[in-house]
Amino acid sequence: MITYDRFTYRYPDASEPVLRDLTLNIPEGAFVLVMGPSGAGKSTFLRTVNGLAPHFYGGVAGGKILVGGRNPVERAPRGMADLVGMVFQDPESSFVVDVVEDELAFAMENFGLSQDLMRKRVEEALDQLKIAHLRRRPVSLLSGGEKQRVAIAAALTMQPDILVLDEPTSQLDPQAAEEVLLALRQLNEDLGLTVLLSEHRLERVAHYADYILYWPGGGQPPLFGEPAAILRQTPLTPPLITLAKALGWEPMPLTIKQGRKFARALKDQLRPAPLPETTANGHPPVIRVDNLWHSYPNRVEALRGVSLRVHAGEFVALMGRNGSGKTTLLKHLVGLLKPARGQVQVLGMDASRTPTEEITRAVAYLPQNPGRLLFTERVADELAFSRRAHGMPPDPEADRALLGRLGIAHLWERHPHDLSVGEQQRLALAAVLVTDPEVILLDEPTRGLDYVQKQELSTILRELRDAGKAILMATHDVELAAAATDRAALMAEGEIVVIGPSRRIMSESLVFASQVNKLFRDPRFLTPEDVIKALPERASSPVAR
């Protein structure tokens, strides 16, 4: 179906090709997961399938490429649009028209199909993605998962043989991501559609894939093969695989169900540390929220009587569906939003009366899109900018040390917009940490990060927590919350439904349980480390190997 033979592609300004001598053969009807660290060439590769690279991006392509019998380098994306459907990371910015039905018809209109045929195909696509009830809604008012399904339906109306998706679920909560992935799996099974999908959170997709295409980065050629074989060769693995590799489970389990067999056999040998009696650390609360209410101008109640305490030296996760009020709550803590009713106190300051600029000297806030936070020309200037804005003297030495702690000191002279997502994330974190704040608020900090970057972020945050900072993090990332936080709060419809020790919250929940917890169903096991630490001496020796 898709054949690459010694294919090479170089971006216009680059000296080195991103894809070098790529030889690859993807069979028809395959579900292919494309993975690898950020910046390894996943997106570029996906864009060569329909010719966006080199046609849209410029640059030079060489070697042979055939997609469904056509050469995308010759045909250009326009000539491939009826064969390859493309879905992008952010559906919002790829919508051209504003009503769902019209958006679905857009590509067909460009191809001059008859009205009857368009009607029929729109109906089919609406049914395939189960969005018929949304047909007259404006796309801007849909939820994230709905938007992404509309984008997929819009690509399907051209009846392509191949569907290419570039991180389609990275902005979705676990429930919405599952909706989208299930729909894709079904299209792949029922219609025989070839699916190419890139994704960082492998725990969501690894079990759906027939093949994995792994880009190791650093100019290395990609590996292509069955999931189990590829996952054995990469450090980027979901917790289940990490554990399976550490314990030498064979054949390698790809699903929780397959893993449970090994877990049952192991469970009796494990000697886990007992659960701590209490998570209270004896420090005073630095965040006090009492009966907080907030409604937006359209009278939608975003927060309904939220009360919360976060203590110094404590790391708390805030979880819940998109639109459950997590971001709204965080914004109140720095005074970006004002409460309708209730009290918000941070470090003794009344957040509703103190200006944001003043609060943020002692409270770091990392918003959802870290790129928005960066606006200077040089990494070094970002930190200097924060210092100046807070009326602090410049201190390049301290800035360099801070960047060093976050592992990005070597980027000192670079332009912030040229950095990878993970690097931008850490730079933005550095930019709000220069003031040495006592409280750190994070909104979805793991978006677009691969496992290694996530691990690093988790380590940094735990160090900060141990240094006595209070951290409150809104996240969909169950694994990060399981690995790093002390307490977790679940929000729904503007209320905190339950709050308590992470171990308890995340093992009682269906949706918010971590992979390892699903294996053992025991609050003492949330992460692979929990299990490995609980191994008796003799069993742990093969792990070291």
């Binding site: 326009r78 051209v96 209109e109 937006y296 359209n298 944001t356 600029e357 918003p367 003031t435």
Partner: protein, 350 residues
């Protein structure tokens, strides 16, 4: 919109502005009744007013400081200062005020189009030959509210970093981020449109036809320009110019139509056209025609220029003022029931 571009008379502008403001408020109220998520609505009244005031202030300041022409000198800045040094005149101040007023009216009208129709609806009404231009324009229109939202986001991000906007130079980081945001978005959209076959597949055309289309387009453009030149040069005998203008326009239209026929594209649905719409379109057409005729034959009435030798205060003709209230009509024509099909609302406010 044409009206705004054609007049500089502050009285007429003010009337137009009031009418447009009323229309916007009516639409916003109806939108609120329709329900929907107001946090995601592209533009709110507050945002429009803020942007408008910002531009207005900028226009006044810029003009007053840089244009040193006029008789009524308010005060004198040291002439050694570059650009802004020299006499600051009342005339320049007024001119900036009027220019700003023009800006404000334009923004408001953009906002009305946005809340009433949505750029996509406009796009749908554009005839085939101008389709690509239409897409470009509609994306440009959609860009304004998106930029406003991004502006808010960026302002928020900056406050988070303790950045306070006190002077003009503090705005610089804002504009830089806004620009890079806009570019990012534009690239993403273009990429998505490209991947979805935007532009369609042109039907093969014979060489002769291609040349015919190009030839007639060029000739049409030439005639149009010649006509304009003749018209403004020989004021006494304007009919040759008029003939050339008509002929040129016809040729241009023909070539556009021919080239439009070559790109084969279809429409998913047809728009319903009801008597009410027809009345409205006729009304708007009449208004536009009246304004254009006015500028053509009596340009002095709409024209206003505060610098000498013209009088400082413009004239005002109440009858003409009445004409500028006309755009208010759609607000009155709207059915009184607040809950009606959202599509009615859209097709009406043309």
């Amino acid at each position: 919109m044409a009206a705004v571009l054609l007049t500089r008379n502050p009285f007429y502008l003010a009337i137009l502005l009031a009418a447009a403001g009323f229309l916007f408020a009516t639409l916003a109220r109806r939108a609120a009744h329709e329900g929907g998520d107001a946090t995601k609505r592209p533009m709110t009244w507050g945002m429009v007013v803020r942007l408008a005031l910002l531009l207005w202030g900028f226009a006044i300041l810029f003009n007053a400081l840089t244009v040193h022409v006029g008789e009524r000198v308010l005060f004198v800045l040291p002439p050694s200062w570059p650009l802004i040094g020299g006499p600051i005149t009342l005339e320049a101040l007024i001119y900036g005020f009027i220019t700003g007023l023009n800006f404000v009216a334009l923004i408001l009208i953009f906002a009305i189009y946005n809340s009433a129709l949505g750029p996509q609806t406009v796009l749908r009404m554009i005839p085939g030959f101008a389709y690509q231009t239409g897409v470009a324009v509609s994306i440009a229109i959609a860009f304004i509210p998106q930029t406003l939202i991004a502006w808010n986001d960026i302002r928020e991000a900056q406050r988070l970093r303790g950045h306070r906007v006190k002077g003009l130079s503090d705005f610089l980081p804002l504009f830089v981020s806004l620009l890079s945001y806009g570019l990012d978005r534009a690239i993403q959209l273009a990429e998505s449109m490209d991947a979805r076959g935007f532009g369609g597949r042109p039907l093969p055309a014979s060489r002769r036809e291609t040349w015919l289309i190009r030839g007639s387009a060029i000739l049409g453009l030439f005639l149009l320009l010649m006509g304009l030149a003749t018209k403004s040069y020989y004021r006494a005998a304007s009919w040759p110019g008029l003939v050339m203008l008509t002929l040129g326009a016809a040729l241009m239209g023909l070539s556009l139509w021919r080239s439009g026929r070559r790109t084969w594209r279809t429409r998913y649905r047809r728009w319903r056209w009801r008597p009410r719409d027809a009345a409205l379109a006729a009304g708007s057409g009449l208004f536009l025609a009246a304004i254009i005729l006015l500028t053509w034959f009596a340009s002095q009435t709409l024209f206003y220029y505060p610098y000498p030798p013209y009088p400082l205060l413009p004239d005002f003709n109440p009858l003409l003022g009445l004409l500028f209230i006309l755009p208010l009509l759609p607000a009155l024509l709207l059915p009184p029931a607040p809950r009606s099909d959202i599509r009615d609302l859209r097709s009406e406010a043309d």
